[in-house]
């Protein structure tokens, strides 16, 4: 009878499900900013080594670190990609779940660029311009007022008289953190708004107020990825979007990049430290899995090797700014040194 045969095979399947077999491929999850770099390395690793190609997943920096800290064993991931540094709360969670050794590997730097439609006007920003354009409260004529600025020229007469409309990354993105710190906070200080806010609201609330944005639809949070920002720029030719450097480099025919503090973002200016809005990218390795998951040590060695992460490697070609201290990282990775406690 057909139904019985089906039922028997179904039972066999569920029985087989009970015994999960040993994992032989590396599993990686985390930041969607690091994802393209990790896939490039995974692909090259699978091609050149006898180990299977690592399985790489996105999901966000925070989610990746949380997964890493779920515990030790084959059902947990080996590496978490992260576009921001690990937090004490993550480390605490790790310790609680028995994950004691975590190796921190800095793979390089990533720039965050401000770009408009390729046929749009030229922009030369400073962090203060962005703060005055997007913040909820700004200093005008020496007094703290709700943001009245309508066009970029209102913010800074040197900028084009174009309506302010900005697509910035949503709060779940690691990119937003950098935008908050390197652009809004810096702009808040530079424009003198921080002083006024602290005076008006006290030390802590004043600093927090630096990060509160106006809510009249001028600043739009994009929770999707850069492709969504690009699509929105396409629909609103007057808008400015926030992108990763590598994304911009892949779409230079559609985007016109703005300067920040007079510096054009590029691999060179970020490596030299001239371009202000950049951040380091990391991945975190569970040291307990080294030597257990086949190929894990080889993979991380390969990732930080000169031919991959060096200035002439494929990662740099894709937009990663190579770390000048790569040799130190290579040594640390080869020795398998876990990271020191956060200071």
């Amino acid at each position: 009878m057909k139904a019985t045969r089906l039922a028997v095979s179904a039972l066999a399947l569920t029985a087989a499900a009970g015994v999960a077999e040993a994992r032989d491929q590396i599993q990686i999850a985390g930041s969607s900013t690091v994802l393209p770099y990790a896939t490039i390395v995974a692909e090259a690793f699978g091609e050149n080594f006898d180990f299977p190609t690592p399985v790489v997943e996105g999901g966000g920096s925070g989610a990746g670190r949380k997964k890493l800290c779920e515990g030790v064993g084959e059902t947990t991931i080996d590496i978490a990609n992260s576009s921001s540094r690990i937090k004490q709360s993550d480390i605490d969670l790790c310790t609680q779940n028995g994950v004691t050794g975590i190796m921190e590997v800095r793979i390089g730097y990533d720039g965050i660029v401000f770009a408009s439609d390729v046929n749009g006007a030229e922009f030369a920003f400073t962090p203060a311009d962005w703060y005055n354009a997007l913040a909820a409260e700004v200093v005008k004529d020496g007094a703290l007022v709700a943001n009245p600025n309508k066009t970029w020229a209102d913010v800074n007469p040197a900028l084009p008289a174009q309506d302010i409309l900005a697509f910035i990354p949503g709060t779940k993105h690691g990119t937003r953190e950098v935008f908050d710190v390197k652009v809004l906070e810096a702009g808040c200080q530079a424009s003198g708004a921080e002083e006024a806010l602290v005076a008006a609201k006290g030390e802590e609330d004043g600093k927090k107020a630096c990060l509160s944005l106006r809510t009249d639809g001028v600043s739009v949070d994009v929770d999707g990825d850069y492709t969504e920002t690009l699509a929105r720029l396409d629909a609103n030719k007057n808008a400015i979007g926030v992108f990763g450097l590598s994304f911009y480099q892949n779409n230079t025919d559609k985007l016109r990049v703005a300067t920040m503090d007079g510096v054009v973002p590029s691999v060179e200016t970020i490596a030299a430290g001239d371009y202000p809005v950049s951040r380091p990218l990391f991945f975190y390795v569970k040291t307990a899995h080294l030597g257990v998951i086949p190929g894990l040590q080889e993979y991380i060695d390969f990732f930080v090797s000169d031919e991959i992460a060096g200035p002439d490697g494929p990662l740099a070609a894709y937009g990663l700014v190579s770390d000048p201290e790569l040799a130190k990282t290579q040594e640390m990775v080869a020795a398998g040194t876990p990271m020191a406690p956060l200071n």
Binding site: M1, A3, L6, A7, S9, A10, L13, T14, A16, A17, G18, A20, E21, R23, Q25, Q27, A29, S32, L35, P36, A38, T39, I40, A42, E43, A44, G46, E47, N48, D50, P52, T53, V55, V56, E57, G58, G59, E74, T75, I77, V118, G224, D225, Y226, T227, S246, F247, Q249, N250, N251, T252, D253, E307, P314, A317, Y318
Partner: protein
């Protein structure tokens, strides 16, 4: 109310009337009917137009992904680069990475350019090397490692051209955009033109798109759907094997054997409710139960299949119960009347007659499961996977991708070439669905019986 209105009308109006001349009421009724039909037609027209626009845009965007630009090269496999020891020892040859092979492929293209007398002013070495997909080096390396005797010979290979060059042949990249594009230069496009003339650069059908694995963002031209198709097929297999017997058994019990009481009513209501639960909820459930509790591997088709089974079960149960209900009671009565047991009556007579309806329900359930993305994101099916899963049953536990998730994945990539591939993946998904439906219709035809 109408009846009283009619009698009232009959009393006041004279009864003499011709059938050939329409009175005002009949005309109104006819007009209302015509209007109703028109609305129906309009509804269908809107539906067809929406479908047409959707299909047309997907086809227009995605048809290009099935054809890809290839380069024909004669690659000289230099012993000095590939096997310095000269021993053809696979251990030693393994050490030469794709970067070494890449240089050989670049040299081959340079030779071909020189041999064909193509001269382009200002063409740099980087321009030449960027004409070829990074995948080419891996292809040559695999061939050499499979057959070390090739070292020292010259082999003819057909390799993928870079995604931007492919975009030029497909009209996505133009001379204007190349001026501004940091990944391609107008010189490369001029070189491409010259190579097309000499027959070195050809667009042809790309099997790699259907059979190949996914690729990283540096080589969109090499990205394929092979693993996603396998992953989706494995998941559908798991869903079919689990949900059909469980669903049919549950519905037969509920419909034919279960007593009618509060408890069975409660079950019935809850099955209907389950069918309406958002699919992401099943993903959260799957993550908690199958991965965190049962310890099944991430990104594996078995987990995807189990989650989708949970999602499909209510659909199948509801459809199966409707099919069982539709079998005339006279059939049951006749079977019981000649002495069949209840089980015999159900299995021998009712179930075969209900089979077409059950199959229809299963197809609807499977089609829904095939296109489901949200729950798969939670259980890691969204990963970048390059190794094919093994044959079942071991393959159910290997990492794999799924078709709808691959579409989602590709739309997020930075390189514009992935937009075309995402649309191509949608076409493959639709074809997959049509094949499944065709099989189901064939099966249904075979089971169909009349009484």
């Amino acid at each position: 109310m109408t009846a009283t209105a009619q009698t009232a009308a009959a009393q006041t109006a004279p009864p003499r009337r011709s059938l050939t001349v329409l009175d005002a009421r009949t005309r109104r009724r006819n007009a209302a009917e015509a209007r109703f039909r028109l609305f129906g037609l309009m509804a269908i027209a809107v539906g067809i137009a929406a479908l047409f626009i959707l299909l047309a845009s997907v086809l227009a965007n995605g048809a290009g992904s099935f054809r890809q630009t290839f380069l024909f090269l004669d690659v000289h496999l230099d012993e000095k680069v590939l096997d310095k020891s000269g021993t053809r020892d696979p251990e030693v040859m393994n050490k030469v990475t794709t970067i070494g092979y890449g240089k050989i492929v670049d040299a081959a293209l340079k030779d071909a350019i020189a041999k064909n007398g193509i001269a382009i002013e200002g063409l740099t070495d980087k321009d030449v090397s960027d004409m070829i997909s990074k995948e080419a080096a891996a292809l040559v390396r695999d061939r050499v490692l499979a057959d070390p005797t090739l070292v020292g010979q010259t082999i003819a290979v057909k390799v993928l051209a870079n995604g931007r060059i492919d975009g030029y042949l497909k009209g996505r990249v133009t001379m204007d955009s190349a001026e501004r594009d940091s990944n391609v230069s107008p010189n490369q496009l001029r070189l491409a033109d010259a190579m097309i003339e000499k027959g070195l650069l050809v667009k042809s059908f790309n099997w790699g798109f259907i059979t190949g694995p996914d690729a990283s963002e540096l080589r969109p031209e090499a990205a394929g759907l092979g693993i996603a198709i396998l992953g989706s097929a494995y998941m559908m297999l798991v869903v079919l094997v689990l949900s059909l017997p469980i669903g049919v058994a549950a519905s037969i019990y509920l419909e034919e054997f279960a007593p009618k009481n509060r408890f069975t009513d409660l079950i019935e209501v809850n099955i209907a409710n389950l069918a309406a639960v958002p699919s992401i909820v099943f993903g959260i459930l799957g993550l908690a139960i199958f991965i965190n509790f049962a310890g099944l591997p991430q990104s594996a088709p078995i987990v995807g299949g189990l989650v989708l089974t949970l999602m499909t079960l209510p659909t199948i149960i509801i459809a199966t119960r409707a099919a069982l209900k539709a079998v005339p009671p006279s059939i049951r009565d006749a079977a019981l009347g000649v002495g069949a047991s209840k089980m015999q009556a159900v299995l021998h007579h009712v179930l075969p007659l209900a089979m077409p309806g059950i199959l229809t329900g299963t197809i609807i359930g499977l089609a829904q499961a095939l296109g489901e993305t949200a729950p798969l994101l939670l259980i890691g099916m969204v990963a970048f996977v390059r190794d094919y899963p093994a044959a079942p049953p071991e393959g159910f536990f290997d990492p794999a991708a799924a078709l709808p998730v691959q579409v989602y994945n590709w739309t997020q990539r930075a390189d514009p070439a992935f937009v075309e591939r995402a649309s191509g993946a949608i076409i493959v998904l639709l074809v997959f669905l049509m094949v499944m439906n065709a099989v189901a219709i064939l099966l249904r035809r075979r089971f169909e019986r009349r009484w």
